[in-house]
């Protein structure tokens, strides 16, 4: 058991080092004040001409091709694309690196929900200093408003995630199940499918904060209200109750595959038909193509099932920006890459490889909308996604400490998946634990 102790000591030492440097860094930045000096386009160009190497932390698959073309265009620049984990894993690593003041990437992928927390912690560069304000109008309103948080522009939208129903047509045809248009139909389809094939599930879910909040969003719930440092949390509002009602049935009847998203088992299930649908963001096609190449041609896309029959409501799921951590070594070069990937030539490369853009021009172009996806049997999937983007229910907001809240989701709501505890109790526990953290952190929580 020495290993345990060593590991812990190492962690403790790391934490200690992290805290020391954080304290020192804090002292350092006090001297210089908090204003960021503007960086002109010329300076960015000069950095490009001079060359150098930058590190990018991202898990978005199409960035690989963007890096290749960026390096081809600017041969003096070397871009190290690192997958430091998906979502929370990466944020933990990023927070550690920022706190330690070393190993901080020059550019990092940060989902919209996580941006306020990093901005609040003064970990990110305000891109207004680079003239990001000029890009107003380049991006669709939802993502653009998401990156303009806390009085700055802390990232540029890379993609957006209007949700859709991805389903394995082969499985649906085999068991003669109609594609569900409402959540009630979805629950019925789940039952029918699992009865027909005990190894097949309508979808996987082991408790996923992002998915849950998106479904509450679609149902019209507004559980988080933020006004400066005043925060209101109500995970028992009407939208949350609608979600809990339907999802409780799926959990109680054991109709959800107990497989974590992004695990090996998940990819396997998506490939062999044992996970028949995914209700997920429009950035998914690129992940399917790279992660589940074997199921090419079997999958299709349909609008999200509705809470009210005949309605047209959608929600965003995930969607990321690229941001520049303050502690990154080469901010100017970082911005050059960031702009190239989100608003420059990189956008087309990413779209061509299956990503879903957040830029107005691409979203409206006939070429984009008319693109046929061989993975989806030639379906023009972007039409479905673009429609969903337009139908996103307005007025949603995340907590300014959503990263932490999501990290304790499985402690609270997750219990409903493995015990007899009802989902509503789990949501209530999540609300209480999040409120407690908010209060501890100095927010006024109502």
């Amino acid at each position: 058991m020495f290993t345990n102790r060593r590991a812990f000591l190492r962690t403790a030492a790391l934490a200690t080092a992290a805290i020391t440097t954080a304290a020192l860094a804090a002292c350092g930045s006090d001297d210089g004040g908090d204003t960021t000096t503007p960086v002109t386009a010329d300076q960015v160009q000069a950095a490009l001409d001079k060359g150098g190497s930058i590190t990018v932390w991202a898990w978005e698959p199409t960035l690989k091709q963007v890096v290749t073309s960026f390096e081809a265009k600017y041969p003096k620049v070397k871009v190290n694309l690192v997958n430091a984990g998906t979502g929370n894993d990466q944020y933990t690593a990023l927070q550690n690196a920022i706190a330690a003041g070393s190993g901080v990437p020059d550019v990092a992928q940060v989902e919209y929900y996580a941006l306020p927390q990093f901005a609040l912690g003064k970990s990110l560069t305000d891109l207004a200093a680079f003239g990001a304000g000029e890009l107003d109008g380049t991006f669709t309103p939802g993502p653009w408003s998401s990156v303009k948080t806390g009085g700055g522009t802390f990232g540029l939208p890379m993609d957006s995630g209007p949700m859709a129903l991805f389903y394995n047509k082969e499985v649906f045809d085999k068991h003669q199940i109609a594609v569900p248009t409402t959540w009630d139909e979805y629950a019925a389809a789940a039952k029918k499918l699992h009865a027909a094939d005990p190894k097949a599930y309508i979808t996987n879910d082991t408790g996923d904060a992002g998915f849950t909040t998106s479904l509450i969003w679609q149902a019209g719930g507004k559980p988080f209200a933020v006004d400066g440092t005043n925060v209101k949390i109500n995970l028992a509002d009407e939208g949350s109750a609608k979600f809990a009602g339907t999802w409780q049935k799926l959990i109680s009847d054991k109709l959800l595959a107990p497989v974590g998203s992004w695990s090996d088992g998940w990819y396997k299930g998506l490939g062999d038909g044992s996970i028949a649908t995914l209700v997920i963001g429009a950035w998914m096609p690129a992940n399917l193509e790279s992660g589940v190449p074997g199921a090419k041609g079997k999958w299709r896309v349909a609008p999200m099932p509705q809470w009210t029959a005949g309605a047209n409501a959608a929600a965003e799921n995930g969607g990321s920006s690229l941001a520049i951590p303050k502690a990154g070594a080469n901010n100017a070069l970082g911005y050059a890459f960031l702009k190239y990937a989100t608003a420059g030539e990189g956008v087309k490369i990413r779209v061509d490889n299956g990503a879903f853009p957040a830029t107005t021009a691409e979203l409206k172009s006939a070429e984009f909308l008319g693109k046929e996806f061989p993975y989806f049997g030639g379906q023009k999937a972007n039409e479905v996604f673009a429609k969903s983007a337009a139908d996103v229910v307005p007025g949603w907001s995340y907590l300014p400490f959503q990263v932490y809240a999501n990290s304790i989701f499985n402690d609270t709501v997750g219990q409903a998946y493995v015990t007899d505890k009802p989902l509503t109790d789990g949501l209530k526990a999540w609300q209480e634990a999040s409120a407690k953290y908010g209060k501890d952190q100095g927010f006024t929580v109502g």
Partner: protein
């Protein structure tokens, strides 16, 4: 430490009986200095810094403020902290006796001299200790999988439905199984080496007196390795209280069964790395450290008292 008082007679030229009166020699410090510097830097400083951290509180809104012992008050009334502590205590009470008993059994078997292929068994039982805990846990994690893992395969092949080792009720036992697998060999080696130094003449005497093997074990071997048993117990207590690697890695496979406050160390980890509550995390670490010390010391006191 003769270095401390070098002979000075020749230099002063005086007669020996007069006690040498000279300034205190710092030579000794020069020898212990490197150690003291490293000790202060890697041992004292982090603890002092953790203590320092534990009396402050940093918030997202409002910055850092001095809070005295409030963090400690909070820790003592924190249900999550105590549930984590209770969990590792339970682990300690069940897993450690099983592991040490198995280790003792194997050590006695190998020492008995009646085992064929003794060297092979010694190495084979010790081998898991050479596997890094991370790798071992991943490996067991795959076996525990009730859909794609070994458990899943057994279920499919035999048409049975084995209980899920990663369910909330069983996950602690599953972790205990991994830890036992990892550390039986290590403890066995401690016991075995202690057994090696028992004088053979005692066994011969016992044989002449007509003692059975069981009597030899009870009256000679176990009393002789009492010290080793005590050491192994203390190591295991510390290890149990500091349980981290195994649950932390299994968490991705069983996110709902293994909470972020599953063990005190995991709690400290998530407080500091997910919640950025470094101050409270330091407090939890200190409280847990003191608790571990108290328990280990109590066991040691009891163990040495019995010796007399």
């Amino acid at each position: 430490m003769t270095v401390l008082a070098p002979p000075t007679i020749s230099r002063t030229g005086q007669a020996a009986p007069r006690p040498p009166r000279r300034r205190r020699s710092w030579t000794g410090w020069a020898f212990v200095g490197p150690f003291m510097a490293v000790f202060a830097f890697v041992f004292v400083a982090p603890i002092a810094y953790a203590l320092y951290l534990s009396v402050f509180r940093t918030r997202l809104i409002g910055g850092t403020s001095f809070v005295g012992l409030e963090n400690y008050q909070q820790a003592f009334t924190d249900p999550q902290f105590w549930s984590a502590t209770w969990r590792v205590t339970l682990f300690l009470l069940v897993q450690v006796p099983i592991m040490l008993f198995l280790a003792l059994l194997v050590a006695l078997a190998i020492d008995s001299g009646r085992l064929y292929g003794k060297a092979f068994f010694r190495v084979a039982v010790f081998m898991p200790y050479a596997v890094p805990a991370v790798v071992a846990t991943l490996m067991w994690g795959f076996m525990y999988g009730s859909r794609f893992g070994l458990i899943g395969n057994i279920n499919d092949a035999l048409g049975v439905m084995l209980p899920d080792p990663l369910s909330p009720d069983l996950v602690l036992a599953s972790i205990g199984n991994i830890v036992t697998w990892e550390f039986v060999g290590y403890n066995m080696l401690i016991f075995y080496s202690a057994l090696q130094v028992v004088p053979k003449s005692l066994y011969e005497a016992a044989e002449l007196d007509g003692a059975s093997q069981l009597q030899v074990i009870r009256s000679i071997k176990i009393p002789a390795i009492k010290g080793a048993l005590l050491i192994a117990t203390i190591f295991s207590i510390i290890g149990s209280f500091q349980l981290f690697n195994e649950p932390s890695i299994l968490q991705s496979l069983a996110p709902n069964a293994i909470t972020t406050y599953f063990t005190p160390n995991m709690y400290a980890y998530s407080l500091s790395f997910s919640g950025q509550q470094y101050n409270y995390s330091a407090t939890v670490a200190i409280v847990m450290g003191v608790l571990t010390m108290i328990v280990a010391y109590a066991v040691q006191l009891r163990g040495t008292r019995k010796d007399r």
